[in-house]
C-alpha cells in the first residue's frame, strides 16, 4: 500500500496537548452539519443518517479508498471524492445521491460483479439491488483460469482476448491448511486482509498485494502456501473479508456439503478463556457445534483481532478427538 495513505494520527480529543476542536460547517444534501475538524465525510454522512455503501472501509482499519463505492459529489471538485477518506472542510457542499454519484456507484458494482464471484457477499448483493447494477452487461464470463495461473502473471503482460467474454478472477479455491481457505475468485481486492495482517492489527505481514492492474492479487512471497509463509493463523483477515473470499474451513466445508444453515445458527458473545487479555469472542454455532469465531470490531479489548487460540482453539469444547467419536473440527498445522 502507498505509505502516504497513512497520515499522522491526531492526538486523542482528551489529550492535554490537543487544541480546542475547531467546528466546521458543511452542507450535505441540503442539510447543514457541524462537525469537529478531522472528521471524515463518511462519518458526517453517517451522523446524518445517510446510508452510504462502503466495501474497503472498516472502522478498525486505516482507509485505503480503493473500492470507490463510497464516492460523493463535492461542489467545485473535478472528480467525485471518496467519502471514507476525505476529511470534512469548512464550507463544503456535498451531494451524496446525485445522478452522477449513482451512476458511478452502479458502474463500480457492475465492474466488480462482472469479474468476481459475489455469491457469498450478501452486502454486495444488497448494494447491487439498490443501484440496479447489472453484472452481466459486459458479456459472458471467461472460463476460470487454472490453479496458480494468476499467481504467475508477470506485470505488463496479458493475453489479448477477442472481447467476446469478460475476463474474471475465477480460479480454484486455495486449501493449504486446515483452518481457513482462500477463494480468490471472490476477492474484490479491498486490502482489508492486507491491512489486518499488517500494522493495523496483526503485524505479521504475511500477505500483500502482488502484481499489478487486473493481475493484482493477494499473495504471500512468491505465492508460497500459507504454512510456508509468515502467517500465524490469527484469522483476523478472515474476519475482515467482506466477500467470503477468506473463509473458515469449518464454514467452507459445511457450505460445500450444503449444510450451512444460517437460519439454524446462534451467536454467543463471550470472553476468550485462554489468556489474561480477555478478548471478546462471538461464537457462531450450528447443531451445537462452534462453526465460526469472530470478534466484534467495536470491542475495546480486541477491536476485531484475535490470536490463533481464541480464533481456532475454542473447539476444545467439542471434546477431544476419539472421545465420543468426535474429531476436533480444526487442528493447528
Amino acid at each position: 500500500m502507498n505509505p502516504h495513505v497513512r497520515r499522522p494520527q491526531p492526538l486523542p480529543a482528551d489529550h492535554p496537548g490537543t487544541p480546542a476542536p475547531r467546528l466546521l460547517t458543511l452542507t450535505i444534501d441540503g442539510q447543514v452539519a457541524q462537525v469537529r475538524e478531522g472528521t471524515s465525510l463518511l462519518k458526517v454522512l453517517q451522523s446524518l443518517g445517510i446510508d452510504t455503501p462502503t466495501l474497503c472501509w472498516a472502522e478498525n482499519l486505516t482507509p485505503v479508498n480503493v473500492c470507490r463505492i463510497c464516492v460523493v459529489e463535492l461542489e467545485g471538485a473535478r472528480t467525485l471524492v471518496p467519502s471514507c477518506s476525505r476529511a470534512a472542510e469548512d464550507g463544503m457542499v456535498v451531494h451524496s445521491d446525485s445522478p452522477r454519484v449513482q451512476a458511478a456507484r452502479r458502474t463500480v458494482l457492475e465492474l466488480l460483479a462482472s469479474s468476481v464471484d459475489t455469491s457469498t457477499a450478501p452486502q454486495m448483493l444488497a448494494f447491487m439491488a439498490r443501484y440496479a447494477a447489472d453484472g452481466q452487461r459486459f458479456g459472458p464470463a471467461q472460463a476460470p483460469l487454472a490453479a496458480g495461473e494468476r499467481d504467475r502473471a508477470l506485470a505488463g503482460h496479458h493475453h489479448l482476448g477477442d472481447g467476446q467474454s469478460a475476463a474474471t478472477v475465477a480460479q480454484p479455491v486455495k486449501i493449504d491448511n486446515s483452518l481457513y481457505v482462500r477463494d480468490y475468485a471472490k476477492c474484490i481486492l479491498c486490502y482489508k486482509c492486507v491491512e489486518s495482517c499488517g500494522i493495523d492489527a496483526q503485524a505479521s505481514f504475511a500477505i500483500a498485494v502482488a502484481g499489478r492492474g487486473f493481475d493484482a492479487r493477494i499473495s504471500t512471497e512468491h505465492a508460497v502456501p500459507l504454512p510456508e509463509s509468515a502467517c500465524v493463523y490469527c484469522g483476523t483477515c478472515v474476519d475482515a473479508c467482506p466477500t467470503g473470499a477468506l473463509m473458515f474451513k469449518s464454514e467452507h466445508d459445511l457450505r460445500q456439503a450444503g449444510q450451512w444453515r444460517p437460519a439454524d445458527q446462534a451467536t454467543t458473545r463471550t470472553i476468550c478463556p485462554f489468556c489474561g487479555v480477555g478478548c471478546t469472542l462471538e461464537l457462531t454455532s450450528q447443531d451445537n457445534k462452534i462453526v465460526r469465531v469472530t470478534s466484534p470490531k467495536d470491542s475495546p479489548v480486541s477491536a476485531g483481532a484475535l490470536c490463533v487460540k481464541g480464533r481456532f482453539g475454542t473447539v476444545f469444547v467439542h471434546g477431544v478427538a476419539g472421545e465420543e467419536g468426535d474429531e476436533p473440527s480444526s487442528t493447528v498445522p
Partner: protein
Amino acid sequence: MDLRPISAAATAAETEAIDALLQAHAPADHAGRQPEFPVGFRRARSQRHLLLPGLHALQLRCGWISPGGLGYLCKRLHVPPADGFAVASFYALFSTAPQPPLAVHVCDDIACKLAGADQIIDDLKQQWDPDASPQAAWHRSPCLGLCEQAPAALRIESGEWPREQAWGHVTSQQLMQALQGGAVPEALPAPLPQDRKNLKLLRRIGAVDPASLADYCAHGGYLALRRALELGPQRIIEEVAASGLTGRGGAGFPTGRKWAAVAAQHAHPKYLVCNADESEPGTFKDRALMEGDPFLLVEAMTVAGLAIGAERGYLYLRAEYPVALRRMQHAIDQARAAGLLGADILGQGLNFELEIRRGAGAYICGEETALLASLEGFRGEPRTKPPFPVEVGLFGQPTCINNVETLCCVPDIVLHGGAAYAAIGTKLSAGTKLFCVSGLVQKPGVYELPLGTPLAQLLELAGAGPLERIGSVLLGGAAGTFVRGDDLQIPLTFEDTRKIGATLGSGVVLVLGAETPVLPLLQRLAAFFRDESCGQCVPCRVGTVRVQELLARVAGAAPLGSWSEERFRLQELGQCMRDASICGLGQTATSAIESAVARLGIIERAAAADPIAGGIA
C-alpha cells in the same frame, strides 16, 4: 515486528550483488562494515528505500528475482518477504520467475506500430524458436521513448557484466542478431530537426559535449547558479512565478506557486524530486534533454534545491534510458568533483546532493504520489490528494516534484529574469515548449516552439505534407485526444487546447495519414492502460480491461448487443473512470479512445467495415 525470513538460501552471486549495493549506501558512520542488522531496527527499516535498487541489482546480476535472493535482500533491509515480493512483482522489468539472461524488448506501441513494428514482430515469431535457445527471449514492450527513431528495441543482458542497450530503426535481422548475442547499434540522440538559431531550451544540444563540464561552462553553463546565489531563494521564486512557467509534465501547474508552497513549509528536511519517468507513449523530449545537455538538468536541480530549501534531490529516471542514465551519472560525478554538488557549493554555504534512482518499467510511477511511493521502496500506487506532496511528500516531508523540461527552463529564467520568459508565448501560456513529433512525418523529432504556434505550422516544419493528407493527430499522448480538420489550426497553448476538449499533455504530436487504420492504435492504447494500471481502484483496474475488450469487439465487428449499446457502454465506463478513479491514469484512460469515437466516428466506420477503422482482430 518479528519477521519470518524466506528459508531458501541466496546464491553467492545474489549475496555479492546486494552486499555491494548496501556497501555503497552504507551510512557514513559505518563505512567499511555492514553488520547484518545495522544499529537497531529503526535504521534498518529506514533503509527500505533501497529495496528498488536492491531488486535492480538482483535482476541485473541474475536475470530474475529468486526466492533466495529476495529473502536475503528482505532480511538485510528488514522488509517483510511478502512485501518485497509485492514490490518486485509490480514492475515489468523485474521477473519473479526464471528468465533467460538475455531479454530483447521490442516496442510495438503507437509510433512504432506506424513504423511497421507489427511486421517485425511477425518476422520474429517466424524466425525465432524460443525453445531452441534457452539463453535469450524477446517481449513486446510499451513505448521506449525512441519514437523519432521508430521502430525501437531495448536489449538487456544480465550477468556479471550486465549490458543495456536501446536502439532505433530496428530491423528483424538486427533483432535476430541481438537475440543470438551479437552486437547492435546504440541509439544516439537523433540530430535536432530544427535550425539551432531558433532554439532556446535546446540550443546547446548537439553543440556541446555532453560529457564535458568545461564545454558546458564555455556555452554559458553555471552562470545561472551563480546568479541564483546572488538572488537568494526568495527572489528566485519570485522570478519563476513572474515567468509564468507551468509544469511541462502534463498537468500544467504553475511552477512558481509550487515552489513557494514548498518553501513556505516549516518542516525539514525538504526534498526535490525530478520526474524523469517519461513513459507516456510518444514522448521523448526529456530523454533528448538528459542525453544532449545533462549538465543543464544538474544545474537546474541545484538552483531549484536552493530556491525551495532542499538539500537533497532525487532524479527518478525510467529504466529504459540507458544512455541518459550514463550521461546523467557522469554529469553528476563531474559536477560533484568540481564542487558544484555536495557540501558548500562554490564556497557559498549551499549544500545540495543529487542521486539517480531508476524506475523499473511502470508508467504509473510517473504519477507524482506513485513516484514517491516507488522511491520509498513501496509499490507504485498513487494515493488521493490532498494532502499534496508539497506538504506530505517523500518520507512524509515537504517535496517539490517537477518534470525534467520544467526544471530545465529555470536556469534561463534566473539568468534573464521572469519577465523576459513571460514575453515569449501567450499571456496564459508563457515560454517555449518541446513537442515530440512522430508518426507519418518526414522529420520526426523534438521541436521547440513558442507556445501559441499553430499546430499546422509545427506539422509543416516536421514535413507532414499537405493538411488534407493528414487523417488526424494524436495530441498529448495516450491520455490525450485525436484532433483533425479545422482543429489542426489551433494555437498550441494550454488554454486553446482546453477549449476544444484537448490537451498538450506531455507534448506528443503523433501524425496519422488519411489512410492510416486507427483501430489498431486504439487497441494498443487500451492494452497499454490495461497493462499499466496499478490495479488499486476498481474503476481503473476492471474498467481498463472492459474498454480493451470492447475495442476488440469493435475491431472484430462483433458487438455485444447493438452498436449503440456498445457506444453507450463506452460512455458509461469513461464517465465512471473519470469520476471515480484515484489518479490521472484511470481518469484519462478513455480520453483518446472516446475522442476517436466522437471525432473520427470509429465505431460507425468499423460497423461499415471502413478500412480506415481497420482492426487487428
